[in-house]
Subunit: 320 residues, 2 copies
């Protein structure tokens, strides 16, 4: 379940539904819900809603781009569990003016992203709305149980890694808002990609412990791993791989990079990094390490020139 | 997949995604998507979106009622496949004014309906919206493959049945719009129930062929069965069970009754009806029968005093 609002809201929902039968599902707290289905396999489920003028603007993104991105941000959550995305359900609420061309272009983008990631559209809903476009995608993935990567599996001593440079999407958004529509970063913001192959590859390595995707920025997202795993982190600011054109703050607090954030233990970390680069033609980046928490406080410490600065509260983009 | 808009839109999507791998899923065309998972079992999936001032009005429904109904309409689709609903994912887009009390009351209603039907909340998303409240629920069900009831399984010669009287919800809506908030039908409209036990019971009978839930009215919903099964129907108007306070048109073209509509073949129909009444303390209603289609046209003929009136196009409530 997403935790874009108050931490307390999701916690409240967890408690509220605790007494209900789990019907075989694992609890809330990861990128996806998990349902073991036998034969050492599980299905994973995630839902993301995208709303006009909150998640996208029709004067900045084409309907094709909005359709493409709606699929990508959801398969990214599936990838973050180490699972293979297999299907989606799509709900579309549209003002009457959007029916016709807008919807056709949206579906073309959704279809092209579905084709890229090999994901079938198996159901959904189309309906009218009075004012805003609202899009909901539920993505379903399939994964060997042994490969599932949970936010709660990080251990003190793990290194923290990311699959790519950060901040480009945030810079791209600012480019677009300023009318610079042709920059490299603007294109990255408009047409993000999900690390689906990388996620499944990393999932096969038992030294990879916790994993999630970076949707709100590591300063916010990493805290979810820390809280779920009850550990703390030290991240030297100089280790953070900053995308071309971005500054550190955009790399740590911008959103929508959709790179994978994960922790790795064991002795074969260099081998993992070499193998990843050989396989994907790009490096992994170590950004810090996990340490035991003191006094039950799971803190994210940024090592900078003046010492260590602690994030007291979640940063990243907040909708409320 | 819902077919609330143009028939052609869903058909277009079917064609668009036909070349993608199905990843084990059955095609679009039922109340739910179906994924066999081994051990002669399948999971079923459905998504429904509810939007402010389209599906509900905040001056008519309380947040509790909206939450309750959001869960019910989705488990109703699961019930219509003969499946047991097991879990939901809930996405909520809310204007800032709704965060807090509104959401708490909404969640209380959602929780109470979830408890009633034994369904766990396993994930979702909460986010802001600029203007409207938008709610999406994805429901997941589990069913023995032999029990799945598809819209495409109806046969010429089958009787057509419904699990209850029709039209009350539509009358209730008009009561509410006229300020009569305390009528029996107003209560039915605000707090519908899904036929979950009935659906699973009917699903165990192999003489029950096609099944779906009545969300848009039988004049519209029955056409889906006719089209998917390539048969035609004759429905004597006098057979339609009209709820107290409703007229025939409301029973056939109103929506949101959430009774089950199904077809039955074989010789033991009276036994099925008797057993149903003994089990649930209420009768089944035979509303008509299926006949072979002529010239490839799957028609719904209403037998009335003047002869037979044919529905040329889908009736029911249309959002576009």
């Amino acid at each position: 379940m997403k935790n874009r609002g108050e931490f307390g809201f999701i916690e409240g929902i967890r408690e509220m539904f605790a007494s209900l039968p789990d019907n075989g599902f694992e609890g809330i707290g990861d990128d996806c819900a998990v349902l073991p289905i036998g034969n050492d396999e599980a299905l994973v489920f995630t839902s993301d809603m995208l709303n006009e003028n909150i998640h996208f603007r029709c004067d900045i993104s084409t309907p094709y781009q909005i359709g493409y991105k709606s699929l990508v941000v959801n398969v990214s959550d599936v990838a973050a569990m180490g699972a293979k995305p297999v299907a989606t359900l799509l709900s579309l609420a549209l003002p009457k003016s959007c029916f016709g061309n807008w919807t056709d272009e949206f579906m073309r983008g959704y279809h092209d992203a579905s084709t890229k990631y090999g994901v079938k559209l198996v159901g959904g809903d189309t309906t009218a709305s009075v004012n805003d476009i609202s899009i909901n995608v539920t993505a379903i993935g399939r994964v060997p149980i042994a490969n599932i990567k949970r936010r709660s599996a990080a251990k003190a001593g793990d290194l923290i890694m990311v699959t790519g440079k950060l901040g480009a999407s945030n810079v791209g958004l600012h480019d677009l808002l300023a009318g610079r529509t042709d920059t490299e970063n603007a294109k990255i913001h408009l047409a993000p990609e999900a690390r689906v192959e990388e996620g499944q590859w990393l999932a096969q390595h038992e030294d990879v412990h916790a994993m999630m995707d970076i949707s709100d920025g590591i300063s916010s997202d990493l805290l979810h791993i820390l809280n779920e795993s009850q550990v703390s982190a030290i991240v030297p600011e100089r280790y953070v791989p900053v995308a071309k054109g971005a500054v550190l703050y955009e790399a740590t607090n911008g959103g929508e990079d959709y790179e994978l954030l994960f922790t790795v233990g064991g002795r074969n970390i260099q081998q993992l990094m070499d193998d990843f680069e050989a396989k994907f033609g790009k490096p992994l980046y170590v950004i810090g390490s996990l340490i035991e928490s003191e006094d039950g406080n799971h803190t994210l410490g940024w090592e900078c020139e003046g010492g260590i600065r602690y994030d007291e509260k979640t940063g990243g983009y907040r909708h409320f």
